[in-house]
Amino acid sequence: MTLALPSNRQEAWRWSDLSSLPDFAARAPGALASPLPNLWLDCAIPGPRLLFVDGRLVTEESNLGTIEIGAHQEASDHALARHAGEGWTLRLDAGHAPLGLVQIVHAATGAADHLAGEILLGEDAQASVVETFIGEGWTNRFTRMRLARSARLMLSRRIRSSGFVSLTEDAEVGQGASLTVATLAAGAADTRLDANIRLTGDSAFAEAGGALLARGKQRHDANLVLRHEQPNGVSRQVWRSVADGRATCSVAARVEVARGAQKTDGEQSLKGLLLARTATVNAKPELEIYADDVKCAHGATVGELNRDALFYLASRGVPEAEAKALLTSAFVQDALARIGEEAVREAFEADAEKWLAQGSFVPSEVEGRT
């Protein structure tokens, strides 16, 4: 496969390092460790479960329910997402039976794989989807979401893998519909996250946020555009970046308010925490407003752990590493506390705690090729 990748000279890619991708693309898949750790979350109504290894569905480990697998009609023209042309489709119409939590595990074994997902919700349909990324390789995903009137979707992603994870979202949120996308990067992988979310109906709600944790030479790079096309829309972007060592976290988040999208209420909060002087956090909030009666707040801060708080904790007997972990955990809490589903939120919090307590997840969950 020949890979045409964007260069850092393009503004939207200037904080990304895609140099590892050709290597992954040239490698053959390795072997899956067996048994795989139990990654399924316990929840009240067990929903569909999909296990993809290197982008291929493992039928015997999966329970598709109403989810279909196949080629998708619409492709993306995004520089990475265009490689993902087929995959899974979750289609729910008005009056569907309760679905339960949809769980998708993506395991990589050392190579590159590309997979698309579609979530198409009809009027009043409701779904909650959690995706977990493990193993090592380049995992490239494109997710297309369409929410009709009053539909509700919660998409949560736990990135615990090594290598590179690129996730691209394209979403349309209809009248009175609600979309929440939450991402936690707490593995050893570099990431590139792109989201293009359009509020296409009156009184739509969209939230995109999460926590990016990086150490060593890791790079996380999130790029979001949230576009209000109709009046009375509400959007929230809450991102917390933590960078240690020589790592870099970048979040570029834009809110666009089209002419006529009056009474828009937009809020952005991009905060970065540097755990070492050699680490980097880039925060780039952008507003582009063409309506005159809107409320858009944005805040971006980058700082270090509070020395007074560290000494206060030490004076009560908390060792330095534990004190730093506690304060860092409190810092990312803002982004994780917003996840409504308890089982999912607890899994996110556990991932973050594990990252803080012992360093990044080792890629031993799945054996990669060496």
Partner: protein
Amino acid sequence: MLRIENLQAGVADKPILKGLSLSVNPGEIHAIMGPNGAGKSTLGYVLGGRDGYEVTGGSVTFEGADLLDMSADERAAAGLFLGFQYPVEIPGVSNVQFLRTALNAQRRARGEAEMSAGDFLRLARAQGDALGVSMDMMKRAVNVGFSGGEKKRNEMVQMGIIQPKLAVLDETDSGLDIDALRVVADGINRIMRAPGKSVLLITHYQRLLDLVEPHFVHVLAGGRIVRSGGPELAHELERDGYASIAA
């Protein structure tokens, strides 16, 4: 319990403590009084082990061990408690979480078993009740949105839960109205006035010493103890001011 000999310390090459000596035995309450700039808070921070305070001479032993050789958290585990003049706010960390983390870290450091969540909550409730700090407040973020008096009461709750051997209380009386002062003083007496425990009260004013009567009063001026005496010395200072003694 605590033996300070000829302690010299400062901040950024500026000498502040210039040969301070002091001994505190188990069961004793000592008050250190002195004018602004005498080095009172520096003494608290040096004993607590704060970064940026450099010891250039002398020694401090705590129960026979070299205190200055320990990190701040090791000092706490050894039984030292530093009460802050300005307790720090920690958004996102609840008092309960903060204290349970602290208590269990100390117990681990001493080779003791960690306290269960249930036992800890009972202990926190009992200590909170005694100082008028409700469980609702205990579940809120550490000192965030607390008034000056609430922060100082919260310091006492922490002290009651941690049960240190030696409490160094830096201007615990500052910013308190007379009712809050009484609550805090009662806390000090209840928690620390015991045969095996000692207190070093660092204060500007006599009023706390009316409620927590010390066994010894010392005057700190120009970085060293210039006079020591019994409780009557505090009254003399209140009457005549520091100028006559420090001069």
